[in-house]
Assembly symmetry: C2
Homo-oligomer: 427 residues x 2
C-alpha cells in the first residue's frame, strides 16, 4: 500500500506568479525520499474558502499526510493557522509563552535592521502569529512564524496537517522538526522506499524516444517512466520500488546501447558533470560573453566552491569593450562583424590569456528582438570553448524569445565544455 | 457574479520541480485581464486518475472555464487529450488532416536539426498527437502539439476545458486562438473587469504594515489586499472592481503619506524603474562583480534594447583579475582585502573608466558557504554605485544561503542604482 501526501501552497503572490513556488517541488522530493508519493500540489490564493476547498479535495483523495506552506505572517491576509484549525475541528488560542518568544524575535529583527520599531503596533501581529489550534504541536520559528502539526480533533478522521511557513529558507529549516513530530511519524510509518533514476540525452528527438519506449513496453513492468524535453535536453526519469531494480537496470542498459551517441548522463546534471570535471582535472576557466550577458559565469559560479575553478569573465556588449577588455582585434571585428565564429574564438582566446585560465569560452550572438539582419537573423549565436589541447566550436540558429536565445546559448556552452572535458557528443 | 476559472498543470517533471511551472501564473494573469478570477492552480503528475481527480475538484468549485497545460507530446505518458475527452464524455478519433499537418512539422523539425529521422517509428507519436475528442475545436500547433477546446458532451453539464501544450512558448502562441474559440467566449461572456494595482516598499517591516492595514480596515471595503515580502521588498497588491477605484485611490494616498520614506513605486518593478531611468537620462553603465558572478549584468541585460545602456561588465573572482582587468590597485587589495568598501569603490571606478561608462557598479563579498572569517563572515557584501556627480555606497550582512547572498546583493545594487538615478531612499 502506497503512502501518499498532498501539498497546498498558499499565497496570492504565488497564484499570480509574482513569486515562483519553490516549496511544492522541494516538499514533493523530500516526501519521495521518505517513501510518500505526492499526487497533487494545489496552489491557492489567500481566500479562506479556497484553502478549505483544497484541503477537502486532497483529504478526499485518501492522502496520509497534508502539508500547507505560507500564510503564517503577521498580516490579516495570512490565515492558514486559523483555517487549518477550523478544518481539523480545533479551537485556537494564543500561546502566551510562544507570543513572548516571537515578540523577542521581531524586536531583534527590527533592531538589527535599524528600522523604526513601534512595539505597540506590532503586538497585534505577534499575537496573531502565536495563535495555536488546541492540541497542535508547535514547531519553533526559524524566521518569525512558528509551524504547526495539527491532527484531526477527537472523533474526527483524516490526515494530520503540517503547517509550514512560506519563505523557503524558513520552511527548509523547520522540516526536520516537522518530520520528527509524532503525528508525522505515525502518518509516514510503513512508507516504502521509492527509487528514482535519471537518464539524460542531448540530440535525440522526443518522438524517437517515444517510439523506443513503445517498443520496449512489455519489459517495463514496475517502472513509472516520464520524459521531459527541456532546452533541447531529453530527461528520462524513472521511479520504481526496490524490487524493480533489475528491470530498471535492463532498461537503462538498453537505452545506453540504442542512444550511445546522445546519452550523456546516467544521473548527474550537466552542471554537475562540468563542475566535477573541472575540479577533478584541476582546470581553471574564464568566459568572454556578449549576448548571454554574464549568464554563463553566473551559472558556473552558482555552486559552493566554484571560485577554485572559475576565475571570472568579461561581458562585452560594445565592440570597444571587446577590443579594450578582451583584446579582440579591431580588424577581426571590422572584417567579420562582432557576431561571427572568428570573434567567438577571439573572445575565448582573449579571456583565456587575460585571466590566465586553462579554458576560455567565447559567446557572441543576437539575442533579439532587435538587431537581426537577413544574413545574421535574431537567434544567430557563435560559441567557442578553447582548452589546453583542443577547442570545440558551434554555431546556432536558436528560435524563440530573447530569454530562450540566452538560455539555450548558455546550455550549449555547457555542453561544449562537457565535450571538451569528458569527450562524448555535443550534437 | 464573478466569473471563475481553474487551471490544471500536468507533468511529473513540474510536480517534482525538475521544471518550474511558468504557465499557471501566466494563465492566471491573462484570465484576470479577461475578468475571470483563478482560485486554484492544481499541479498533477502524469497519472490519469490524478488528472481526473483534479478536473473533478475544480469543476466542483463551480468554475466557468477549465484549462489544462501539458501532456500533449508524442510519448505514452502524455495523456491529457485522452483524459479530458473521457472527462467530458467524448470519444476520440484520429483527425487524418491534422495527422498530416503534424507529420510535416515533425519532418521539418528533424531535418532542420539534422537528427536521424525514422519516419516509420515516429508515425505512432504523430498519430497520437492527432487524436481529437469528438466535437472539440482544434487549435493549430505552434510547436508539434495541437491544442483543444473540449465542451461537455450533449446532455452533460460543466465548464469547457481548454487543453493547451506545456512549453510556455507554444502555450502563449496558442492563447489568442484559445480565447477566440466559441466555447471560451461563451464561458467568459459577462466577465467584469478586475483591476489590479501594486505598491512597493523598501525598508518597512511586514509587521508595521500589518498594523497599518488593521487600523485602516474600516476604509478598505471592496479592496482585496495581499502583501508579500520578497528579498526585503514589501509588495502590496490590491484587486478591485472598477466601482472601488475611489476607495483604492484613498488607500494609495494614505500609504504614500505614511510610508513616504520607503514607498519607492506605485506600480513599476524595480527593474522597470532602473531601465526607464537609464534610457530616459541617456546614461551608460558597466559593472565589476565578484561574489555575484555576473548576475547584475545578466539582470540588467534581461530586457530587449538594454544594450543601448549596458556596455558590459567584468566578473573578477581572483585578485589578479581584479588588478589586471579592472585596475584595482594591488596595495588596496593588500591593505583592506578584496572584500572591503575600498575595493567595491575601486571596482566601480575601474569598470567605469575601462568601459567608458557614465555609471560604474562595484560588488565584492563572501557568498559562502566557505570563505568567511570572524572579521568578515559569510554574507558580508560591499556595494558601490558611482555616477557622473555622486556615488551611493552600502555594506550588508546578508543572512542565509549562497543563493540568498547573491540574489540579495544584486537586488541591493539595483536599489542603489534607483537611488542614484531617481533619488529617494535606498534604506
Amino acid at each position: 500500500m502506497v503512502t501518499r501526501a498532498g501539498v497546498v501552497v498558499t499565497g496570492t503572490e504565488v497564484l499570480t506568479g509574482r513569486v515562483a513556488d519553490r516549496n511544492g517541488p522541494w516538499l514533493a522530493e523530500q516526501l519521495r525520499r521518505l517513501g510518500a508519493d505526492v499526487g497533487h500540489v494545489v496552489v491557492v490564493g489567500d481566500r479562506p474558502e479556497d484553502l478549505v476547498a483544497a484541503l477537502s479535495f486532497l483529504s478526499g483523495t485518501g492522502v496520509d499526510l497534508l502539508i500547507t506552506t505560507g500564510g503564517l505572517g503577521p498580516t490579516a491576509d495570512d490565515l492558514t493557522a486559523q483555517v487549518v484549525g477550523g478544518f481539523q475541528g480545533r479551537d485556537l488560542a494564543v500561546d502566551p509563552a510562544l507570543e513572548q518568544r516571537i515578540g523577542r524575535i521581531v524586536e531583534r529583527l527590527m533592531a538589527r535592521r535599524g528600522w523604526r520599531a513601534d512595539p505597540a503596533s506590532t503586538a497585534a501581529g505577534v499575537r496573531k502569529q502565536a495563535l495555536v489550534p488546541d492540541g497542535a504541536t508547535v514547531l519553533e520559528p526559524v524566521g518569525t512564524a512558528p509551524g504547526l502539526v495539527v491532527p484531526p480533533a477527537a472523533g474526527r478522521t483524516g490526515p494530520p496537517v503540517l503547517v509550514l511557513p512560506g519563505p523557503p529558507g524558513e520552511l527548509r529549516g523547520m522540516w526536520p522538526a516537522a518530520v520528527a513530530a509524532a503525528p508525522t511519524r505515525a502518518a509516514l510509518a510503513g512508507a516504502a522506499e521509492l527509487r528514482q533514476e535519471t537518464l539524460r540525452l542531448w540530440g535525440t528527438l522526443e518522438a524517437q524516444l517515444a517510439a523506443t519506449l513503445r517498443e520496449l513496453e512489455p519489459e517495463l513492468g514496475g517502472l513509472e517512466i516520464t520524459t521531459c524535453l527541456r532546452e533541447g535536453e531529453l530527461e528520462i526519469v524513472t521511479r520504481f520500488a526496490a524490487a524493480a531494480q533489475p528491470a530498471y537496470d535492463r532498461f537503462a542498459a538498453l537505452l545506453a546501447e540504442r542512444y550511445a551517441a546522445t546519452l550523456f548522463s546516467t544521473g548527474p546534471t550537466l552542471d554537475d558533470l562540468v563542475a566535477t570535471a573541472l575540479a577533478g582535472q584541476g582546470l581553471t576557466i574564464a568566459a568572454g560573453e556578449s549576448c548571454t550577458g554574464g549568464l554563463l559565469v553566473a551559472r558556473l559560479t552558482e555552486r559552493p566552491g566554484s571560485s577554485a575553478a572559475v576565475l571570472g569573465g568579461v561581458t562585452a556588449y560594445a565592440d570597444e569593450a571587446k577590443e579594450a577588455l578582451v583584446g579582440v582585434p579591431g580588424e577581426l571585428l571590422a572584417e567579420h562583424g562582432a557576431v561571427s565564429p572568428q570573434v567567438a574564438r577571439a573572445l575565448a582566446d582573449g579571456v583565456r590569456a587575460r585571466f590566465g585560465a586553462d579554458i576560455g569560452v567565447g559567446i557572441t550572438g543576437i539575442a533579439g528582438p532587435g538587431g537581426g539582419t537577413e544574413a545574421k537573423p535574431v537567434g544567430t549565436v557563435h560559441l567557442c570553448v578553447v582548452g589546453p589541447d583542443r577547442a570545440e566550436e558551434r554555431s546556432l540558429a536558436v528560435p524563440g524569445s530573447r530569454t530562450a536565445v540566452r538560455e539555450r546559448s548558455v546550455t550549449m556552452a555547457m555542453h561544449l565544455l562537457r565535450a571538451l572535458l569528458l569527450g562524448g557528443p555535443a550534437a
